[in-house]
């Protein structure tokens, strides 16, 4: 693209003011102001140059339907933040949500409609032409079978599609690669309903997860994570206590990492374990079991702990103890899903867990039917299989694809079948595997450019409004369909009309309010469920034990890239996987013992050959997986989709079959042979030593000890000075302080500080991506990641946590960022004062003064300073991080760093200054809570608190005095401004690595 075109499009996107233009051209920190200023034609009344406007809309990165507020500056969306009004995410957001911006401004988006010409090549076409062609196609293929394939689309748009399909005689199939068939089938068995209930983690007192990764990929992660930390965090609003969390599963996921105890049950036996627990509870009357549970006694009789212990692979005593704990907690909640329920007996496992819940009376209290989740309404994989069959049989004449990419998630079968379809139309924004095979491409607006709504759960309708001008020559699929169906008006009108039907009385006001709030949020009435007769007949039989040459391979959804839809967003590619810390590549998890047996080292390639396909993955040797299990994430291995995703590693879906299993689900646990290929790859990992080795960076407390702490205790206090020297030292420090308080440093100043609660942090990594978004961090790509040159100001250090026997029980995650030390080692060594101490207690880093001696980084014990080895903002440079139009999401308030300068966490100084400006304009002082750092704002578990340590009434001041509080490497007397609150584990003698 020539600059001229860039510029024109750029002008189209923003009715630019100077500021907008300046920041975009301000690549590097050299003075490069815009030479031209283009005024608005008409000033948008809700936008003032230099002041951000926030628009409420809905995140469509996954089906959870979190509310977001988009920060818009001079017509550019520069940051996503959670919408506090939304009951789903309560103002929080996950990494994938943060990265939605990179979908909006992605350089690989399809810029205009395309059509396959006679030679079979895709060529450009104008919209009118495209729509004419399509109208014709629709007419001629009526009766020949029309199918509209969408993602989870519980929305007015979905309704529109259905209406239109009724009109032209077609059917809609909605497809989520990681569907919840097992959940629905299991619920049908036990309660006679296929609804997917919501789970109230917040009030549970004991959480037992059978493979359900509710913190990263299961149903509604942000919502659940928020709830989970309320329950699981130590003294989170409740008298010192925490809900114990036990994780049952073959490998540790993000969710598993946070468990107090990890039960590595053999895959497939989770159901047996659940029933065993229920058996103990019922027979020993540990809980007030509902009357009708007696029907189950015959079923449970077969699952006495002694009988099933060996099959499950854990001691009988453990089962009994768990049952006792679970029941006696008086608030036990068990959830089943994810890896546990993706085998052939998944539905039974869910049913078994339902029974366990039912036995302790969790159903109705924590498992809430009534407020069903929309995700449950998608078609099953069985339906997809039939669709594929129909397509292959040529029974589909016209196929529309919107918001899903089955050619990637169902490789082999689907692409073949696709070939048999006469005419294929895609509404995708990216040239993904499916779209590449289509005949007509009508690029849809990005979610942030379009009107729409979605109903993530009963009672909640989240609104979507365009927050920026369309970046490319795209059109709302709704508008297209309306045109096709010959209806007048745009989709916006359609949407409003639909809403009017629900609420006619002074609609406009209602509409505006809903827009401002981001939707309408109502509590759906609870619905009581009773045990269905089928419940007593379930049989969660365990599959056969895997033999030496055949391994159980668990294919699990990548917590960041999920089913691969995130693979073309550099932020998500660069973000290390929370567990493996590997980025830009896929991997296979191998237990050290297995690795030793096979003579395998991290990075050696394993060829996995299943009945359906074979793929190569580099091994990651980790104690977080069962010895007899190999685990592979999805997400990578795209053959199309975009520059960041294409030809990167291998596609784990290749290993899976396209057949539906008994309950209409898909088997994600397959048997495969693993052979060393001899190849090796240096993985781009952020992981250093996986063990903390008692160097005193992380602290872990047993619950018993934590409970014993009183206000004023300092279990981790590091005594720097002996008693006799205290007075002298104090006097000396005072003198030093006086000598240091000249000029700007005179008088009272705030001391900005942070408190990070390790008991809350789950390692979900949302904060990291938020930091990338807020502070214009460059993504450096795999090659430089391999050389440890990532720019992440905030990294999550994951140290394995073991029990007394040294077996891994989970992990402690420590967010490590600039500690803004009171007496910082980095400052005095800088020859030019580029690193210096600000009056308000920050370690200032003046980019434009920095000459790049890098001494500061050498002298930083926390190693949180990062150097610009190349000019990552260089147009067309080898390591360009913001290719047009990605550069449009650069934060205008933050300098884009040039090559050769050091950078580090600034505590979002631009937000601090912004708040101070605002306060000054309003003639008031900055209040506690005015300033919210990007990481704090997005943290789904509210683990980070920012504030003024000199303000006795601030939240952070209170937390800094918490007995669990400690400073990392306090012994170095760096006086950090960040207080970490020790991780609390419900365990006898936890060890941090």
């Amino acid at each position: 693209m020539t600059d001229a075109i860039n510029r024109r499009r750029f002008l189209k996107v923003l009715g630019v003011t100077g500021a907008g233009a300046a920041t975009l051209s301000a690549c590097g920190i050299g003075p490069e102001p815009t030479e031209r200023l283009i005024p608005y034609l008409v000033q948008p009344e809700d936008q003032v140059p230099g002041i951000a406007t926030y628009y409420a809309t809905t995140c469509r990165e996954c089906a959870a339907g979190c509310g977001v507020r988009v920060r818009v500056r001079e017509g550019r969306a520069v940051k996503l933040e959670g919408n506090p009004d939304s009951p789903i995410n309560r103002g929080r957001l996950c990494a994938r949500g943060q990265a939605a911006l990179q979908g909006l401004y992605n350089p690989d988006r399809i810029p205009h409609p395309m059509i396959r010409n006679a030679r079979g090549v895709l060529e450009d076409i104008d919209w009118d032409g495209a729509i004419q062609r399509l109208t014709a196609k629709v007419r001629e293929s009526q009766g020949k079978g029309i199918v509209f394939l969408t993602g989870a689309e519980q929305s007015t748009f979905g309704d529109l599609i259905d209406e239109w399909l009724k009109q032209i005689g077609g059917r809609r199939v909605s497809y989520e690669p990681f569907g919840f068939e097992a959940l629905r089938a299991g619920n049908r068995m036990t309660f006679g309903t296929t609804a997917v209930p919501t789970y109230d983690f917040a009030n549970a007192k004991y959480i037992l997860s059978f493979g359900a990764d509710f913190l990263d990929t299961w149903l509604s992660p942000v919502e659940f994570q928020n709830g989970f930390t309320r329950a699981h965090a130590f003294d989170a609003g409740r008298p010192a206590s925490m809900a114990k969390f036990v994780y049952v599963g073959p490998r540790l996921s993000v969710t598993g990492m946070n468990a107090d105890e990890w039960i590595g049950a053999r895959p497939g036996t989770e159901g047996m374990l659940a029933l065993a627990l229920a058996q103990v509870i019922v027979t020993q009357h540990l809980a007030r079991v509902p009357a009708d549970a007696s029907r189950l006694s015959s079923l449970l009789a077969g699952y006495a702990p002694r009988a099933v212990a060996t099959a499950i692979g854990i001691e009988e005593s453990v089962i009994v103890r768990l049952a006792k704990e679970f029941a006696s907690s008086g608030g036990g909640l068990a959830v089943a899903g994810g890896m546990a329920t993706q085998g052939p007996n998944g539905a039974e496992i869910v049913a078994a867990v339902n029974i366990l819940n039912y036995a302790v009376g969790a159903v109705g209290t924590f498992v809430k039917f009534g407020a069903e989740l929309a995700i449950g309404s998608t078609n099953t994989f069985g339906d997809i299989a039939t669709l594929i069959a129909d397509m292959a049989a040529g029974k589909v004449g016209l196929l529309f694809v919107h918001g899903t990419n089955p050619a990637y998630t169902a490789p082999g079968a689907f692409p073949q079948a696709l070939g048999k379809v006469a005419y294929k139309v895609s509404f995708a924004s990216f040239m993904d595997e499916t779209t590449a095979a289509c005949d007509l491409i009508l690029p849809d607006h990005h979610a942030l450019e379009q009107w729409g709504d979605s109903r993530p759960r009963a009672g909640v309708t989240a609104l979507q409004q365009p927050v920026v001008q369309p970046v490319f020559d795209t059109r709302h699929a709704g508008d297209v369909i309306l045109k096709l169906s010959g209806k007048a008006g745009t989709f916006q009108d359609y949407l409003q009309a639909k809403w009017k039907t629900k609420h006619a009385a002074n609609f406009d006001q209602y509409w505006m309010e809903s827009l401002a709030k981001g939707g309408i949020y109502a509590e759906a009435p609870a619905r009581a469920v009773r045990l269905a007769p089928t419940a007593a007949r379930i049989n969660p039989a365990a599959p056969a034990v895997s033999t030496a040459q055949e391994q159980d391979v668990v294919v699990f959804p990548h917590p960041i890239l999920h089913d691969g839809r995130g693979a073309n967003q550099p932020w998500l590619q660069e973000l290390p996987d929370p567990v493996s810390k590997i980025s830009w590549h896929s991997w296979v998890e191998v237990h050290p013992d297995t690795a030793a047996r096979w003579g395998l080292a991290t990075g050696d390639f394993l060829l996995l050959k299943s009945a359906f396909g074979a793929q190569k993955f580099p091994a990651w040797i980790t104690p977080s997986v069962r010895p007899d299990v190999l685990a592979v994430p999805t997400g990578q291995g795209h053959t199309a989709y975009g520059r960041y995703a294409k030809d990167r590693s291998a596609n784990a879906f290749e290993l899976l079959g396209a057949q539906a299993n008994g309950y209409g689900g898909r088997n994600f646990t397959v048997r495969a042979t693993a052979t060393k290929t001899g190849e090796h790859r240096k993985l781009a990992t952020a992981e250093g030593s996986p063990r903390e080795l008692g160097m005193g960076t992380t602290e872990v407390l047993a619950l018993s000890r934590a409970k014993a702490l009183h206000p004023g205790d300092h279990p981790f206090h590091y005594e720097e000075t002996p008693e006799y020297a205290k007075e002298a030292v104090a006097w000396w420090a005072e003198r030093q302080h006086e000598k240091a308080s000249h000029g700007n440093y005179k008088g009272e100043h705030p001391r900005w500080g942070l408190a990070i609660d390790l008991a809350k942090c789950t390692g979900c990594s949302a904060c990291v991506t938020a930091c990338y978004a807020e502070n214009n961090l460059a993504t450096v790509g795999e090659e430089l990641m391999q050389r440890r040159r990532e720019m992440a100001w905030l990294r999550l250090e994951r140290y394995w946590r073991t029990d007394a026997h040294g077996t891994v029980q989970g992990a402690v995650i420590e967010p490590m960022l600039c500690q803004q030390c009171g007496s910082a080692p980095c400052e005095p060594v800088c020859p030019v004062f580029a690193a210096y101490h600000t009056p308000d207690g920050l370690n200032g880093q003046v980019y434009n003064r920095c000459v790049g001696t890098r001494y500061c980084s050498n002298n930083c014990p926390y190693k949180v300073r990062f150097f610009n080895w190349y000019n990552y903002a260089e147009r067309g440079g080898e390591f360009e991080a913001f290719p047009e139009p990605l550069s449009m999401l650069l934060n205008p308030d933050v300098t884009v760093r040039e090559k050769g300068v050091m950078e580090k966490c600034t505590f979002c100084v631009q937000r601090i200054r912004g708040a101070q400006h605002q306060a000054r304009i309003e003639n008031r002082a900055v209040k506690d809570g005015d300033i919210v750092t990007a990481c704090q704002q997005t943290c789904p578990s509210d683990a980070i608190v920012f504030g003024d340590l000199n303000d006795r009434n601030s939240r952070v001041y209170e937390l800094a005095g918490n007995p669990r509080g400690y400073h990392v490497l306090a012994g170095l007397n760096t006086k950090p401004a960040i207080t970490y609150l020790a991780r609390v584990v419900d365990q006898e003698t936890p060890r941090n690595g």
Binding site: G18, A19, I29, P31, L41, G50, V846, T895
Partner: protein, 179 residues
């Protein structure tokens, strides 16, 4: 600039000082080539608008007092008046016609930037106006009210900023402007 700081508070509150420029009559410019500063697509004369007609700066640069950015008036703002005002002299009419054409063609003029800071320096206009008053624009932008064509009158170099900060005894902390 000393004069500006010394002005009576009534001026600092935004009203025009009657003595200051009520008698001021913008000169007729015959030779525009002789003027300093870049030639703009439209020969917009601050001395006529701000000086002779005494339109307050904030009328067009409306966001300067509330935002970091002074804001550039949208074409609508120009047209708002020039719908009616078509100019007295032919030369004026010619320029005003450009405005109307631009509005008709929905094609805003591309002004040439005169005052620009490097990307790494922040200048929150509202803070400075808050401190120095609404008339203080002239502190940095010169006597705009009597300048036919805007030119850069201050260096905008760091030393220049610092001197003023020292004189007014405000913070010299680096992170006030650089982040």
């Amino acid at each position: 600039m000393v004069l500006i700081l010394a002005l009576p508070p009534v001026v600092a509150n935004g009203q025009q000082a009657p003595v200051a420029s009520s008698r001021y009559k913008a000169p007729v410019i015959s030779d525009t080539g002789a003027l300093k500063g870049p030639r703009q697509p439209i020969f917009f004369r601050h001395d006529i608008h701000a000086g002779q007609d005494q339109i307050p700066c904030m009328y067009c640069h409306y966001s300067a007092a509330i935002s970091t950015e002074p804001g550039l008036p949208s074409l609508q703002t120009c047209f708002g008046c020039h719908q009616l005002i078509s100019g007295s002299t032919p030369s004026h009419q010619a320029e005003i016609k450009k405005v109307r054409d631009a509005w008709r063609d929905r094609k805003p003029p591309e002004w040439i930037r005169v005052y620009a800071l490097p990307g790494f320096a922040r200048f929150p206009h509202m803070r400075h106006i808050k401190a120095l008053g609404t008339q203080s624009c002239t502190t940095c932008h010169g006597d705009v009210q009597h300048t036919p064509q805007i030119e850069q009158v201050s260096t905008l170099r760091m030393g220049w900023c610092i001197q003023c900060h020292i004189k007014n005894n405000v913070s010299r902390d680096c992170s006030v402007c650089h982040y």
